[in-house]
């Protein structure tokens, strides 16, 4: 499965889920430059719902979702 968008940063979260997943995700995305794209692999079954919700709440853009693969663009500010 190949994503169409080029990623700047990659993170394989394995089976991390729920709070463990989004807390680490926040730390990693915050460390990125505005506009950069994270290629995330998240195997937890809850991630399918959690990742889009997290992006809506935090203002980051979910560029593409093909579970377990997600491309997230860091917001501008």
């Amino acid at each position: 499965m190949r994503a169409r968008c080029t990623a700047d940063v990659e993170w394989d979260a394995g089976d991390l889920g729920c709070g463990d997943l989004v807390l680490e995700l926040m730390i990693r995305v915050t460390a990125m430059a505005p506009g950069q794209v994270l290629r995330l692999v998240a195997l937890d079954p809850g991630a399918r719902a959690d990742i889009p919700a997290w992006c809506r709440m935090t203002g980051h853009t979910l560029v593409e979702e093909q579970p377990p693969l997600y491309l997230i663009r860091r917001r501008g500010t």
Partner: protein, 120 residues
């Protein structure tokens, strides 16, 4: 959408499952950019003491100490119910990072801005 989130935890070693899941959800809230409060009351106040959570590791979850440390590092706050704390004769000099002993008014103030609250 409210920018605050409260997790109320009333258990410690009497129900390690609830204590652990409470902090997992709190980490989801703080990790989602919410100003997050964990309110420890009843038996949950014991979690405010350094070392108390060190032996709690619920199957399928990260160790509770790790969850609590991550919560505090991410900027989460813990309010510890003052009367529950005093009843158990706990030590205010042994509070974990991010914890403060407070009365009910502080909790009410936090919730009064429209914060949701989930209880364990």
């Amino acid at each position: 959408m409210a920018n605050k989130f409260c997790v109320s935890i009333t258990h410690a070693k009497d129900n390690t499952d609830k204590a652990t899941v409470g902090f997992v959800v709190a980490n989801a809230a703080v990790g989602s950019g919410k100003e997050t409060l964990v309110f420890l009351s009843v038996e949950g106040v014991r979690l405010s003491q350094k070392g108390f959570a060190d032996s709690i590791h619920e199957q399928g979850f990260a160790p509770l100490k790790e969850l609590m440390d991550n919560f505090a590092k991410a900027g989460g706050t813990m309010y510890v119910c003052s009367p529950c704390f005093k009843k158990r004769a706990l030590d205010e000099n042994s509070l974990v990072a991010g914890a403060a002993v407070v009365g009910g008014a502080k909790l009410v103030e936090f919730l009064s801005d429209g914060s949701p609250c989930i209880s364990y």
